[in-house]
């Protein structure tokens, strides 16, 4: 293909991927026909898993390469449009694909922090980084730090920070791959992790960035089709309009109206909800009384007897907690769950709702004016805290987006600065397609639940509810707490991941579409995992080995080392994921704060402030990273921290809000107290600022 000009290459790619998309649609239709003819759902799952992984493997093998530039940056000839698709797949992980709509369903407006944070960051990529990094034109982000600030120390800090952010993130992706594989095929989770790992490695092992790029384009096409079809179908079947993003405004109004009814005990629906909530409250009180009795018994020294009595009373079930502490924990959880279910419905579109203390105080006839004023102040404090956290989270996610090495690296692969700029536009456009659909999906499903499920009878539950509550109680649980035989909202517990997974069934589509959605989730997780693994392996092989240990290494040796490290990192990440680390979602969020604190100031000032120098970069990056990590450690329970240590009530996930300014101050102060950078480095700054200069230096890597 090397003989082709860029525009011929582009035409050829367009032809290939058009055929590919058509082929995928035909494949889905063929499976749908087979399903109608009696192919069992389990086989549909197997075929989807096998066919898509075989496809990615095929692309991976076809793209194998022994050329350094092909391996690290796909030969720098990925057209803007295709780099945009690849970035979209690289960017959107299992969390975006499966989790996003669920988060929005559960959190309403407050969940939009993720939608805005994960898209607005591309504005920063476009304005501050992509074109300049492309002009610089090497292989990794630590490359830029090492060259711009001169010396191995900035490069080393960059490598360490890149590994910290990418590794936590890749573990979460492999975890997602394991879950989806297990769901699609019925294999054990641990087996699923390693099957998925094979799927990841076939893409990246032989062809590095080149193979990853072309599989990511293929994965993007699958994931966007898999996301859109069920949502559009749901929208048509429930509203008669095929554009869910437009029509859900009206649906949202209906949802809001239903929310008001549910919270007003004077209406029929509200009265039913009130009775279900009362049942939850009674349960909460009885559990709290039991906990108190247990504590009293333990204090008397009769804890063991009390525990035995409870076990006998419960009928000696096999899953009864083994110790007093475990029993107490179970009761506590039950009481908390019941307390949550006994509260009013929070309105979907309302921003930063208070605690509802004022409404409660007003309902109490004994409350004085002062009580009400105090309750109002309490609500206001809650609103302010939520707003602060929302802003901090959005900022951390945005700046983190613009600092994550696996994303920035993609802009090294375009043919020119012009294409790098265009490519950021395409990236965000392709990401936007999914992100502006997710809020619509959340509202459509919410309407389905509020309007059709609530009020239906337990004897005739909709099929999708019966199916999912049988498959997985963490996703869908429904219990008739007030024993009236009718479903109330307070009786339904929904796990966020259900929203995307169950949409095909809610829309009344055949199982093959469910299989396609799972394949889409798999594509999302695999593509992100590939990009991240490559980032880590490249940082180790290129920055550490080639640039610092053995700069004379031959091409063959460099690639061998790189592939070896890729394998080691992948196995280690899969092993970590198979242990099911509990705080995985937090760690993913933390990656953004860490990247924002460590990279953003040094990268941006490196381009926009000529005076930034070695000492500034070292101090800024270290200080940003340290402040961010310190804040997480003192506030996050997993590291032994306590929420009381929070500054301004900011949650640990947004630690970057403190790390970033410290990073900027660090770079500025460190630079000003030491000498201005050398003439060569100032030339480098000019070099990256202008797409083309006469008599320019050349920083491109071979």
């Amino acid at each position: 293909m090397t003989a082709l000009t860029q525009s011929q290459f582009y035409q050829q790619l367009k032809k290939y991927y058009t055929f590919y998309t058509g082929g995928f649609i035909l494949f889905v239709i063929a499976l749908a026909i087979l399903e109608q003819m009696g192919l069992p759902p389990k086989w549909v799952g197997y075929i989807f898993l096998g066919a898509t992984i075989a496809l990615y493997a095929g692309i991976g093998i076809m793209s194998k390469t022994a050329d350094v530039s092909e391996y690290y940056v796909a030969g720098r000839r990925v057209p803007a449009l295709f780099n945009g698709m690849a970035t979209g797949a690289d960017w959107m992980s299992a969390a975006s694909f499966i989790g996003m709509a669920g988060t929005l369903y559960l959190a309403g407006y407050d969940g939009l922090a993720f939608v805005m944070g994960w898209t607005g960051g591309y504005v920063l990529v476009a304005l501050f980084l992509a074109p300049y990094l492309r002009k610089f034109g090497q292989f990794t982000i630590p490359d830029f730090l090492g060259t711009r600030y001169g010396g191995n120390l900035p490069r080393t800090i960059g490598v360490i920070a890149a590994i910290i952010c990418s590794f936590t993130y890749v573990v979460a992706q492999i975890y997602g791959v394991g879950i989806i594989t297990a769901r699609l095929t019925g294999l054990e989770f641990q087996v699923g992790v390693f099957v998925g790992l094979a799927g990841i490695l076939v893409c990246s092992f032989l062809g590095g960035m080149r193979a990853v790029t072309w599989t990511q384009v293929a994965q993007y096409i699958i994931l966007i089709i898999a996301y859109m079809i069920p949502v559009v179908w749901l929208s048509v079947s429930h509203t008669g309009n095929p554009i869910p993003q437009v029509v859900y405004g009206q649906v949202l109004q209906q949802v809001t109206q239903l929310e008001n009814e549910f919270n007003n005990p004077d209406t029929a629906k509200g009265a039913a909800e009130a009775s279900a909530r009362a049942a939850h409250r009674a349960k909460q009180e009885s559990l709290e009384a039991k906990i108190a009795a247990l504590d009293a018994a333990v204090a008397d020294g009769t804890g063991a007897a009390f525990f035995e009595a409870q076990r006998t009373e419960a009928g000696n079930p096999a899953d009864f907690p083994a110790t007093i502490d475990a029993l107490k924990e179970q009761w506590k959880k039950g009481a908390e769950g019941a307390k949550k279910a006994s509260g009013p419905v929070s309105a979907h579109a309302t921003a930063f709702a208070g605690k509802g203390a004022e409404a409660k105080a007003r309902a109490n006839p004994d409350a004085t004016e002062a009580d009400i004023a105090a309750a109002r102040a309490e609500d206001q404090a809650e609103t302010d805290k939520k707003r602060r956290n929302f802003i901090a989270l959005v900022l951390c996610l945005m700046v983190g987006t613009a600092s994550l090495p696996h994303i920035l690296m993609r802009y090294y692969t375009t043919p020119s600065v012009r294409d790098a700029r265009k490519s950021v536009f395409w990236s965000l456009f392709f990401i936007f397609l999914l992100y502006f659909t997710a809020p619509a999906l959340a509202v459509l499903v919410k309407f389905e639940v509020y309007n059709n499920l609530v009020g239906s009878s337990f004897a005739t539950l909709p099929a999708w509810v019966a199916n999912w509550s049988a498959v997985d109680a963490t996703l869908m649980k429904i219990v008739d707490v007030n024993l009236d035989g009718i479903v109330q909202l307070a009786e339904i517990t929904i796990g966020g991941d259900l929203i995307v997974l169950a949409t095909p069934e809610i829309a009344g589509l055949p199982y093959v579409i469910s299989g396609m959605v799972a394949a889409g989730g798999l594509a999302a997780a695999l593509s992100t995992a590939d990009g991240l693994l490559l980032t880590i392996a490249n940082a180790l092989s290129h920055d550490v080995y080639y640039k610092m240990i053995d700069p004379k290494a031959s091409t063959v040796r460099r690639l061998a080392i790189s592939k070896g490290l890729l394998l080691v990192v992948a196995l280690f990440a899969a092993y970590t994921a198979s242990l099911k680390p509990g705080d995985i979602l937090f760690l993913v969020g933390a990656a953004f704060s860490l990247a924002a604190s460590a990279f953003f100031p040094a990268l941006v000032l490196g381009v926009f402030w000529r005076r930034a120098n070695y000492l500034g970069a070292v101090i800024g990056m270290l200080a940003g990273l340290v402040v961010c990590m310190y804040y997480m450690v003192i506030t996050y329970p997993f590291f032994g921290g306590v929420p009381e240590n929070q500054w301004f009530g900011i949650a640990p996930i947004s630690a970057g809000i403190f790390g970033m300014p410290v990073g900027f101050i660090g770079v500025i102060v460190g630079s000003l107290i030491s000498r201005a950078p050398s003439q060569e480095i100032q030339q480098l700054v000019d070099h990256v600022r202008y797409p083309s200069l006469e008599g320019d230096i050349d920083t491109r890597a071979a």
Partner: protein
Amino acid sequence: MQLSERHHEYWRKNLRLTAVLLAIWFVVTFVVIYFAPQLNNIVILGFPFAFYMGAQGALIIYVLIIWFYQHRMNQLDKEYGVHEGDE
């Protein structure tokens, strides 16, 4: 190499464009978030305004910002003779 006055002008224009677009980004994101409870009282086509901005409006504006930046910068490159040669 020595940068000419034209080069400096190019860079100043780039900075101005960057600053203006960043200001738009800031307003549609953070100013709207800050006043979200008040802005939600304005309802357009069923959407409370701040909710709409978070779910769609801001995203559309981000896409447009980036499109405009690439369009304008690629123009400036040519105007100031710092564009890359064609393949």
